[in-house]
């Protein structure tokens, strides 16, 4: 616990002294290690200690927020008073009366961190990075550069609010990334792989860093020989291993309650309506052990929970944090997340996925005469207001007579969330997870996303127009 209960109470009381009907303090102590290897050498080894507190006061729908990295009791009481005063200047409220008495909510899951990263000698972490570097470089003579990154973070948080919630939590995350560059003298291409989760050094019991490094290198080399992607409309098969960027962008963001309440989402006002093919069920779930978007408590102290967002095509639920839930007189779904003490919590995804269906993934491919096979997705973006989204294809192939054809590079898929979800006509029985950092309102948080193999009968592929590729 980062501050005694008595201090937390005093701070919350100071925050509410001028009125306001909710106060919260989020204390954080973050210890990080990061190692980067590039140009065949360990270039950076960085250790960090960062701590700070964010204080929030809410009156009605108005919020005042302040943060500081001075964690002394006096300084925090002073910050709390300033935040409370800032709110009062915006809007008076009756204020909240009565003593705060703390209770500790129970998490729905416990995560077992087997090997805390701070117990692993830095030399061992460096050795792993060096092994991965050597593995990537051994793949092909055309590999010209390899960057390996390793990072771990131990984030201790204490969250307390005027409704009596008091949570201490520790989040442990490890992450490993490989970026390989291949060049044949004319063309330069890249390959990327990553692994990570809400877990300790045991991550490397399930993930072989050398194999990941070789995969990234092989992809970079393969892309040298890939032809430019075709342009225009065509059927698209997304492999289960491709990751879940599409679902994250196509509907995930649009189901966040803040965007819904501001009428900034195409899914606003559509609870209970059919928004996707009945083959589609979409779930957000931070309680899956070890995934990158997993947690026991969200950043407001609400236990993480599994939320069915779309069930057999029917929109069931949005993702809420405390404030958006309060506006509707309901409970948070435990989706209140923030990048650090410097940020206000907002509704965010955790691990989001399309639930597996019944089809055999191989049959889906076999029964697709032509189109694009997406084997790996890259980053994406959505305009939630109209549902238009794009994402990048990191590894893609032409589909010719139901078989995997030549590799293509430089493809982007663009579509409209509701339109795409409605026309998905095949859903496989597999499921592949990927990890990422999701950006929203300038805040990045770790997320996981996944989907089974799916087929979209028609999507716009943004490539370089080439007559011979046209069907």
């Amino acid at each position: 616990m980062l501050l005694p209960e008595g201090d937390l109470k005093a701070i919350l009381e100071a925050a509410l002294a001028e009125g306001g009907d909710f106060a919260e303090i989020f204390l954080e102590r973050r210890r990080t290690t990061s190692i980067s290897c590039e140009d065949n050498k360990i270039e950076r080894v960085i250790s960090g200690l960062e701590q700070g507190a964010g204080i929030r006061v809410i009156a009605g729908e108005n919020t005042a927020y302040g943060y500081s990295n001075d964690l002394s009791r006096e300084s925090l009481i002073q910050t709390a008073a300033l935040v409370g005063k800032a709110l009062k200047e915006q809007k008076r409220s009756a204020g909240r009366k009565g003593q705060i008495s703390f209770h500790r909510p129970r998490p729905e899951v416990e995560f077992n961190i087997k090997k805390r990263p701070d117990q692993i000698p830095v030399a061992e972490k460096v050795a792993l990075v060096e092994r991965a570097n050597a593995a990537a470089r051994s793949v092909d003579g055309r590999i010209t550069q390899v960057t390996i990154g390793y990072g771990d973070v131990i984030q201790e948080v204490t969250i307390a609010n005027s409704e009596g919630v008091l949570v201490d939590d520790e989040r442990v995350r490890c992450r490993f990334v490989v970026n390989a560059v291949a060049s044949d003298g004319k063309v330069i291409q890249t390959g990327f792989e990553s692994a990570g989760g809400h877990q300790g050094w045991e991550l490397f019991e399930e993930v072989n860093p050398e194999e990941k490094a070789r995969q990234a290198a092989r992809r970079a080399v393969m892309m040298l020989e890939a032809r430019p992607a075709p342009a225009g409309k065509m059927p698209v098969v997304m492999a289960g291993e491709a990751g879940g960027t599409m679902i994250h962008e196509a509907c995930g963001h649009g189901l966040e309650a803040d965007l819904v309440q501001k009428q900034l989402s195409v899914y606003a006002g559509k609870k209970g309506q059919k928004v996707a093919s009945e083959l589609i069920t979409v779930i957000d779930d931070p309680t899956i052990p070890g995934k990158y978007g997993s947690f026991r408590f969200d950043d407001e102290g609400t236990p993480g929970q599994k939320t069915v967002l779309i069930e057999n095509g029917i929109l069931k639920e949005y993702m809420y944090d405390y404030l958006t839930a309060r506006k509707e007189g309901r409970r948070s779904t435990g989706n209140g997340r923030r990048e650090s003490y410097q940020d206000r919590p907002i509704p965010r995804m955790t691990n989001t996925y399309i639930a597996p269906g019944k089809d055999d993934p191989e049959a889906i491919l076999r029964e697709t005469k032509y189109g694009l096979l997406v084997k790996r997705m890259g980053g994406g973006q959505v305009n939630t207001t109209n549902g238009d989204f794009v994402f990048d294809v990191a590894e893609g192939y032409l589909i010719q007579d139901g078989k995997v054809g030549p590799a293509v590079r430089g493809a982007t898929l663009t579509g409209n969330g509701p339109e795409v979800l409605k026309i998905i006509d095949r859903v496989g029985n597999d499921l592949g997870f990927a990890l990422g950092t999701c950006g929203k309102d300038g805040q990045g948080v770790p997320v996981g996303d996944a989907q089974p193999t799916i087929r979209i009968p028609e999507m716009v592929v943004g490539g370089i127009l080439d007559e011979e590729d046209k069907q």
Binding site: V45, E50, E61, N69, L82, V83, Q145, Q381, D388, V390
Partner: protein, 450 residues
């Protein structure tokens, strides 16, 4: 905050930290940043959120036996500082040796820049709140179809930077900037379209709420009723905002770091034509009213005006102290430090394509059929190493030299070098969006996928 007093206090602290590390046989550099910030968000004329912050941190870089170690802390108590020194030294022992690792020596002088507008601090919060309200009022007044405010914000930041190293540098400056933006949605029938307006400046008086609000509204309204178009090849015009998005992809490739590591498409091309002869690309760390302007970079090296591409010819790359030592040249003052949490890498300051001499209207007038692109989506997925990009785009269709109907849901793709070579017109309307700026540019022909 009393920046003068704080500056003295932190110069002393940085000096002590450097001496501690140097006492253990390393060359050392302490970087401290400390600041205050304010952010105001208004919706429907109400202050939805107001954030005030105080923040500080110290980053310590040490070099021992040619090996770099780094550690940072926000806790300035003696034990935390000692731990930071120990960790930096320990990290250096595991890093690889590289003879080019070094710190800059003392400089005789730095450019005198006017970076601290008192008005930013002196203006009361109430007045800043009123400025944001005015942005929203202006946006709504522009057209009744502007019905939803996604956000209307004002923010400012006042900060102090201190650098001390064991080679004789001990320097500091304080600066401030402010900015405001709006994202509004225009609604008509079933269609919703978003538009934005924004401005950043070193001067409070340069933030014009009417301009920001009306621009956001105009951008949203003109996109109402946007439709897809069929796949085709046609001339494409990027408005300054879209052009700056592409410039963001070019920036990493112009750093010496990327070049030395074989990750730049500009590698080995100094002296060659890499863009159309009407293109000049500049990085200027001392530009007047540039929000990235500073007397020195993240290592204490003076900032400068660097021409990277001159009439389409590549002139050189951006350097920090390390990349300069490796190439045997002088640092261009581009040791960029976004935060105290990282070592100074190579990065841009105020980075822009120079203005041409034709108006955007003239440039559009010459196009029989083409696309005026006002927004791109997924720009962060472009690959700065290969130069390949493929992004979602929307904008306005050009027919007989006139902007006609709005277009959405198309994709444009290509390679950044091809794009640069294909530019056949540059506008006179250089506009900065934060620290990156560009004028309107026209690409002779591109594939538009619809």
């Amino acid at each position: 905050m009393d920046y003068q007093a704080l500056q003295k206090q932190y110069l002393d602290l940085a000096t002590q930290v450097v001496e501690k590390a140097a006492g253990k046989g390393a060359v050392a550099e302490a970087y401290i940043s400390a600041g205050e910030s304010l952010s105001i968000e208004v919706r429907d004329q109400e202050v939805e959120a107001l954030t005030t912050a105080r923040d500080r941190g110290l980053g310590l870089r040490v070099i021992a036996d040619g090996r770099v170690g780094f550690a940072y802390t926000t806790d300035f108590c003696p034990q935390a500082i000692d731990l930071c020194v120990e960790q930096a030294l320990a990290n250096a022992r595991i890093a690889a040796r590289d003879e080019h690792n070094c710190l800059p020596a003392r400089y005789p002088e730095y450019p005198g820049l006017d970076l601290f507008d008192q008005e930013i601090t002196a203006t009361p919060v109430e007045e800043k709140i009123e400025l944001v309200r005015e942005i929203e009022r202006q946006a709504r007044a522009y057209d009744p179809r502007v019905k939803i405010t996604e956000s209307c914000t004002y923010n400012d930041s006042r900060y102090l930077v201190v650098i001390v190293n064991s080679q004789g540098i001990a320097t500091a400056y304080h600066a401030a900037y402010c900015g405001a933006s709006t994202f509004v949605v225009a609604v008509e029938n079933e269609d919703s379209q978003t538009g934005f307006g924004l401005a950043y400046s070193l001067r409070y008086k340069n933030i014009d709420p009417a301009k920001i609000g009306r621009e956001g509204a105009a951008r949203a309204v003109r996109m109402l009723g946007a439709k897809r178009i069929a796949t085709q090849r046609a001339p494409v015009v990027f408005d300054p905002y879209v052009a700056t998005n592409f410039l963001g992809v070019i920036a990493p490739a112009l750093t010496a770091d990327a070049v030395q590591k074989g990750k730049s498409l500009f590698r080995g091309r100094v002296g060659q034509q890499v863009a159309s002869p009407i293109i000049n690309i500049v990085d200027d760390g001392r530009r007047a009213d540039g929000i990235a302007s500073a007397p020195f970079d993240g290592e204490g090296v003076p900032t400068q005006h660097t021409v990277l591409v001159d009439k389409g010819t590549l002139k050189g790359y951006l350097h920090n102290t390390y990349t300069a030592a490796r190439d045997g040249v002088k640092s261009t003052g581009n040791g960029a430090r976004g935060t105290f949490k990282t070592t100074p890498e190579v990065g841009t300051t105020n980075f822009y394509i120079e203005a041409g001499n034709r108006t955007p209207e003239e440039i559009i007038k010459e196009i029989p059929r083409g696309l005026y692109v006002t927004e791109v989506m997924g720009m962060h997925t472009a690959n700065p190493i290969s130069g390949d990009f493929s992004v979602g785009a929307s904008g306005l269709w050009i027919e007989n030299g006139e902007l006609t109907r709005p277009v959405r849901g198309v994709a444009i793709a290509g390679n950044i070098i091809g794009l640069l070579e294909n530019i056949d017109a540059v506008g006179n309307d250089l506009t900065f969006f934060g620290s990156t700026g560009a004028p309107t540019i026209r690409i002779a022909a591109m594939t538009i996928s619809g």
